[in-house]
Symmetry: C2
Subunit: 402 residues, 2 copies
């Protein structure tokens, strides 16, 4: 028997993938593990096999894997040097099947669905999660329903639609669509693997476990992660809580969740010391993949951050674009604007972090910049023109003067 739990009401519910909310407080439920001895299997090749004891599945069928996980942890020496900061690492989740961390969650949720005989899955998403769910649904041969906002860009629609799910552009309020999807799911036996689905969230833990292993079985001092619906950060924190409970680490990292100023309901609640996140009216930021004005996991994030060590901050679009350029120019990493919030946040907190020069900092790069090309402006790219005959002269000018 498996259970979900409400961390607010401390109530437990028998696992029901179609009803992942507390009946009393309406908050999202989280997966509850029975107390048992758990171990990593780092020699296994597939990520889900490595961390199987810590995931809500009893086996991982490779036939439904797209090769998720095992992403690199890259040391950012030039960045540390330039800003006189402690060692910084990028956990680059762009190295995933659909180029974002969402695959971590989709992979586990699809395994769960198959193990329970579920034949239809779905998701409500504005982009990255939709492409990820559609890809995993295709691989597993599941009928997949993707509900997106009617103003989704053609770029997003293409990367979802290429996997041929039932793709529905829904007109109306996105928050309502999120909750309505569960009604539809119950009625038509569609398992909606939305942003705070308890199984999806467990999948994100593998990011934390890999960071731990890649740092030679140590926790970093700081973990910076973008925050939208909250699912990703909840998963990261739960990974380190697992490690703490197993006695693998002595203390938790300091978690810094970052939101974009144009859409920062959780950061605002944190700043004001509130215990509940209030929906904001309008989201306006270039970091589209973290622009959720009514984050369903917001209250859980807030509680976790207030209980443990951490904070939620906000950064401006200008700071985000600047950080995106710095990562590309200094470290060769071209990431989503949403991912660049991590560096923007680090630079914002750099004064307090400089005091601890031996601490390790991890930025979770959630996805590839190729997924959001529209936010880059061609006008900001240095380009020069030359004929073949003038090329030699042109090159000379760059070498002498620059």
């Amino acid at each position: 028997m498996e259970y979900f739990e409400c961390i607010f009401c401390q109530k437990e519910y028998p696992l029901d993938l179609f009803n992942p909310f507390c009946l009393d407080c309406k908050e999202p439920l989280l997966y509850q593990y029975s107390q048992r001895k758990r171990a990593f299997y780092p020699k296994k090749y597939w990520t889900l096999e490595k961390f199987l004891d810590f995931l809500p599945i009893s086996e991982a069928n490779q036939n439904f894997s797209l090769g998720e996980g095992n992403t690199p942890l890259i040391k950012l020496n030039r960045l540390s040097e330039k800003f006189k900061l402690p060692p910084i690492y990028a956990k680059n989740e762009a190295f995933n099947p659909t180029s974002s961390f969402k695959d971590r969650g989709s992979a586990v949720a699809v395994q769960k669905a198959l193990s329970m005989g579920i034949e239809r899955i779905g998701t409500v998403s504005t982009g990255n999660m939709a492409a990820s769910t559609a890809a995993y649904g295709a691989k597993a041969g599941l009928k997949t329903f993707v509900l997106v906002k009617e103003d989704a860009s053609s770029e997003k629609l293409l990367s979802i639609g290429v996997h041929n799910p039932v793709l529905v552009l829904a007109k109306g309020d996105y928050g309502q669509l999120f909750y309505k999807s569960f009604d539809i799911g119950r009625k038509h036996n569609i398992y909606f693997i939305n942003s705070v689905d308890p199984i999806r969230i467990e999948g994100y833990k593998a990011i934390g476990f890999e960071i731990f292993l890649q740092l030679n079985s140590q926790a970093p001092r700081y973990v910076f992660a973008p925050v939208s619906s909250g699912g990703h950060l909840i998963g990261l924190i739960r990974a380190f809580l697992d490690l703490l409970q197993q006695g693998q680490i002595q203390g938790l990292p300091f978690f810094i969740g970052i939101q974009a100023k144009g859409c920062s309901p959780i950061a605002r609640a944190y700043r004001l010391g509130k215990s509940k996140v209030e929906r904001i009216e309008k989201a306006e930021t270039i970091a589209h993949s973290i622009s959720n004005p009514d984050p369903p996991g917001g209250n859980i994030v807030l509680k976790m951050i207030q209980d443990k060590k951490g904070k939620i901050i906000e950064v401006s679009d200008e700071e985000i674009l600047n950080a995106q350029r710095i990562l590309a120019e200094l470290e060769g990493i071209f990431c989503l604007p949403a991912s660049a919030t991590t560096l923007a946040g680090l630079l914002k907190l750099s004064e307090e972090i400089k005091n601890n020069i031996n601490d390790q900092i991890v930025l979770v790069i959630t996805g590839s910049g190729l997924k959001s090309m529209k936010e880059l402006e061609l006008s900001k790219i240095n380009i020069c023109h030359s004929s073949l005959s003038k090329l030699d002269e042109k090159m000379k000018s760059f070498i002498i003067h620059k």
Copy 2:
């Protein structure tokens, strides 16, 4: 002392990164290894360390790695079943720092440049190689020169320019630009890591070595790979030649190089039994990343394929786009049109392959579909619209009727 060799004239030259062509026949030179005992180090984490003995570098400095390699080999069960074919695997090179296999070569060439004290690198490319070289140049802090055709798409320019290289749009013949770059390189001490650079090609061998290890130290029966300039396929063949020479495998795979019909100079020469590739006048295919009308490595590819077991075939744009959709819909892999040529080629040869139902087939997926979104047509994506109130009804229609 290190040497390059001409496989046509059997001449050897002292290694000179600025002069990678035979003085007699003008063909590209390849790296020559001294005969020594070589081994894999599969327990090492970084790809370049795993295969160091087989690469033209004596050490791999992690500070200049972006996390290249270790890409997954994914079994494509649904494809095998649908087309009644032997086991098929995708070696998915989209799991690389700039989402294409080019990173394999850039990584090794940049290590080589740094070990030799070279401070300036460059490349002539229409896209993927340019972004890769710019990213690695940025990571290593090298001054990087990227020469592209003047009609490069803004999508490509953005993904290159974000790393802030010296980016020059050159007006004039692309073939001439390729050869001119070496003159410029010699003059201004810029190491041009172009498509058939001997060090770059050695980097591609790691793809072959990983396939071998992932198939439990066996060679597959067939390897399908797209062919443009020729560098990639040369590297793949050299990997398996190394394995053969080391006694790790008993025979070579059958190599099938695939070109797009609209630009297939090597396939044409192969079909006509010629020993030299003739430049074609005009390239016209949606598979832009393999549309080189004058492939500098063409003659080497031709010789290798004629000497060893293999063939070069061509597929139409329609077959390519069809294969791209099949991979996305059945297997959840969204790849470049150029990469989809591998499946298109397999389907073309399926009759002769069906006879050997126990053989293993590997398709090398060279890059992510996100790098070439313009070739997808929104009109071919199934999309439906719904209001929130009608959503329930809409979903029902998909479940009952489909």
